[in-house]
Subunit: 349 residues, 2 copies
């Protein structure tokens, strides 16, 4: 039985969507055991409407809730809140393998770093979503917002982490890694990216394909795109915004005239397939890579289907052995010989 803890109070649609998503995941995975962390009475209210195997579900009563306006460090002190209490159990109990939350991104990152802890050798955890691409597969974009400021060593580690995720999560044998920049030529970008290019070119075990541009995240052959968290976040959200605009315009135009309404009837299946291929949340949320256990951060606006996908993905990543794979990969790596000491620390903060 694989035990996973879910923050039932995080996100805009909590606890309703979270509990529903968790039960959906529980029902489709007979080896899953789910702990729902949150206000017991509220969770029970939602559970009463659902049918599931009660022997594989546990409620972990956490009377406190982190507010939208609480700072991450403030949130960390709220030990009876669902997210923070879940992190503490995840850290202490060996048999809990993963955490899923749709709560505050800041609190998730800070809790991951300060409660759960990083894999030995990793400077900073990084957010890594799976983005649909033109090959009908996914591109892993790492980092997407955990680190607004980066040093070259961090970007090199993001390449290691996301390559391991590509192997374990998507069965890609030798993932192709691109560095997100403002042009494909080697000299492009600011000093951070120019330096990182040099180190990535030399790194053993990284299938480095050079610089790529924003459009290549969805259109190129790269399985992994390495980015600082500032521009990675902007890239991800720019693509999401464009996707949302397209779907909005489509909805409007496709119901604007009688002719297009008739056309829609014939096209329903094609449009459904198209929407599925462009779904940014097919695999749930972003992995928070680099921590001692699997943590998935889902979108604050996640619906139950996204939560179910996040739980399924977290379990699959755990079963694939992501954390041990990264630990093995890092064993014996001498970052100081690869990258000069001045470039070798995480950013202060």
């Amino acid at each position: 039985m694989d035990k996973i803890i879910v923050d039932a109070m995080g996100g805009d649609n909590a606890p309703q969507a979270i509990v529903e998503g968790a039960i959906s995941a529980l029902n489709s995975d007979k080896n899953a055991y789910i702990i729902l962390a949150g206000i017991q009475s509220e969770i029970e209210k939602v559970l009463a409407t659902l049918s599931y195997d009660k022997s594989r579900l546990e409620i972990f009563d956490c009377p406190d809730v982190i507010g939208m306006n609480d700072s991450p460090t403030e949130a960390l002190k709220r030990k009876q809140s669902s997210l923070i209490a879940a992190y503490w159990r995840l850290k202490k109990e060996d048999d809990i393998c993963a955490l899923v939350t749709a709560g505050s991104t800041g609190a998730t990152i800070v809790g991951g770093q300060l409660i759960l802890g990083r894999i030995r050798g990793i400077k900073r955890p990084a957010l890594c979503p799976a983005i649909p691409n033109s090959r009908g597969q996914v591109t892993l974009l790492c980092d997407c917002g955990a680190n607004a400021e980066c040093k070259p060593v961090m970007l090199c580690q993001f390449a290691v982490l996301a390559s391991a995720y590509a192997k374990v999560g998507f069965n890609i044998k030798n993932p192709k890694v691109g560095l997100l920049s403002n042009g494909t030529e080697e000299h492009k970008g600011d000093p951070l990216h120019q330096e990182t290019y040099k180190y990535l070119s030399k790194m053993e075990g990284i299938n480095f394909a050079g610089n790529i541009e924003g459009r290549d995240i969805m259109l190129s052959e790269c399985d992994v795109v390495v980015s600082d968290g500032f521009s990675g976040n902007i890239a991800l959200k720019s693509m999401e915004g464009c996707g949302k605009l397209v779907l909005g315009v489509m909805k409007k135009e496709f119901s604007a005239t009688l002719s297009s309404k008739i056309g829609y009837l014939f096209m329903r299946k094609a449009i459904k397939k198209m929407r599925a291929q462009l779904d940014f949340e097919k695999f749930g949320g972003a992995l928070l890579l680099g921590l001692k256990k699997v943590v998935v951060k889902s979108h604050g606006s996640s619906k139950s289907s996204t939560i179910a996908a996040s739980i399924a993905n977290a379990l699959s990543i755990y079963r694939g052995g992501l954390v041990p794979a990264v630990e093995n990969r890092l064993e014996g790596v001498d970052w100081n010989s690869l990258i000069p000491e001045s470039e070798n620390g995480a950013v202060e903060g």
Copy 2:
């Protein structure tokens, strides 16, 4: 008569698409006079197939062509190349009002800075495309790649330049300005963006709306989005990539089955309208703002319709008085009192 010079040899489809686009613009604007800079014999070959008012067209024979692999500084020395020769005429001849090129971005920027020259007080020129948004209007994203490294004063000036473009080009009285960051809260971003936020908040004549995220470029109420050239380039290309993927998937799915093919017949108009609303090149290329005259940089892959749109937009911006408007706006602005000296220089380079 408004004289404009067009680089007939720049871009993947030159000179064919450029000459065709120029003639299309010439035919629809009776007050336009176009100088086609490039290899005379090649231009004449294309012109022979077209009909137009010969009294408003001039060929400027430039026997040299800048290669795709020439560095910008190398390109600058090629004085007989169409782009560089066009820049020299633009600088020297008062009655030439604008330049349009689909050639090398680097050479266009360097030529603009070193041959044509910047508006007094402006530290760096910036690339500014008009991006379709959910309001059915455009968002001006500035800078999109001219400056991979920025200082706060540059971002503040991009706000001034793009606000003037919004007024002159799109008749927006009090353009709303957002700062592109990895979150909407004031403290988000790296030190560059945190500092810029403070200065933009204090700037008179800038309608500053605070930080915005990548998705807000296409979905928010902002008319202008200010960005460093590195993340602005990534945002633009990420949106382009997503748009291209969507159209590709649509094309495939909409012709995959008999049912969807029938549906397409009913939906043709709706799909055409949708494509038009999502067209990134409706207004041609990006303006290279901050120079002493109007310069438009079109996509290297521009078709004739994009070139025609770029020429029309350049003439409209010239007639709207963009450069004098910026000069007036900057007169008497004391950047040193607004921004401490340490933050007040352009980046070395």
